[in-house]
Symmetry: C2
Subunit: 175 residues, 2 copies
Amino acid sequence: MSTAASTPAGSLGGSLDAVTKWLTEDEQRAWVAWLGASELLMTSLDAQLQRDAGFPHAYYAILAQLSAAPDRTLRMSDLASVVNASPSRLSHAVGKLEERGWVIRRTCPSDRRGMLATLTDVGFAVLAEQAPGHVAAVRKGLLDPLTDEQVAQLEQICNAILDGLDPSRSRRLLA
Amino acid sequence: MSTAASTPAGSLGGSLDAVTKWLTEDEQRAWVAWLGASELLMTSLDAQLQRDAGFPHAYYAILAQLSAAPDRTLRMSDLASVVNASPSRLSHAVGKLEERGWVIRRTCPSDRRGMLATLTDVGFAVLAEQAPGHVAAVRKGLLDPLTDEQVAQLEQICNAILDGLDPSRSRRLLA
DNA sequence: AGGCTCTTGTTGAGAATTCAAGCAAGGGGC
DNA sequence: GCCCCTTGCTTGAATTCTCAACAAGAGCCT
């Protein structure tokens, strides 16, 4: 076997096939390719940002989502949804961004347990500075190798996967 | 905007468009969908393994690749290639697996700088125990939502991305 | 042999993420 | 009002990953 999801060493398949449905050759290849592509692409994007900007892609996503929101402000829970982060992770990350002066947090007036995160002008400037390089990296790693038709197919495929994993599609909040 | 790669707040596009090629609507949607799907799928697989097995997907991949290798043994550098890990990351991870008694390391006889990692019987048993649940998670998250045609398309798309990022395709070593 | 460089792998420190609590505020039901 | 339960977010510890520096063997050239 060659993938993280295939039967271990192909030896115990016989006894387990009754209860477990292993992957076919086609499925196997698709899964391996997907795993490799998503890992390599994410690490390459992370490396590009870390090198040029000094922060990981997860932080870029936070800045980008805030920049697109009304008043450059988003509630923590909404921000967590759109960047696909756990509350804890977002809290730590925004803490770091606040230390750098790129984001400000204040309590939500209408619901005092909530917090509103706002992108500062400095934060926006940093984002604007890094955006071209990041977009270029996305284009080179993901879009350039694909035909227009494949880009369209990929969107449909990924949306199907998303529907399966997250039926409410909270990531679409800011679509 | 709604994605980590789009122009910040859509305001400074005018001055930068001369040098930077932003994403089209189609590209944007594909990129957002890809990002969401790969992040959600990986976190769901990690969560499943962490819950059922107590270790992350990266460790599962190491065990799986070793189980498929001749003598359940692989050189560290080769193992790093097939699981797509940096030397450092692999060294730390194998160290942890060795502590648990699932892997053994010994120096390579033909090249004394090299190390050979071998999956133990205990390690193999752990892998065999966790494989069905993991395969089921992959199936449910990735394969089930897709048609057979989409699975085939996905393989081609991801291979195209891989060719762009890693032309030598070291991941194919154990294909 | 000597010396130079590249390869292989490890190590330790720092950063990011996860996990499990914990706390404060909202929203009923009584 | 009071109690209970849920929601929203934070905190600290443990885990994993990244980055830079390092050590040691191999390969090569003179």
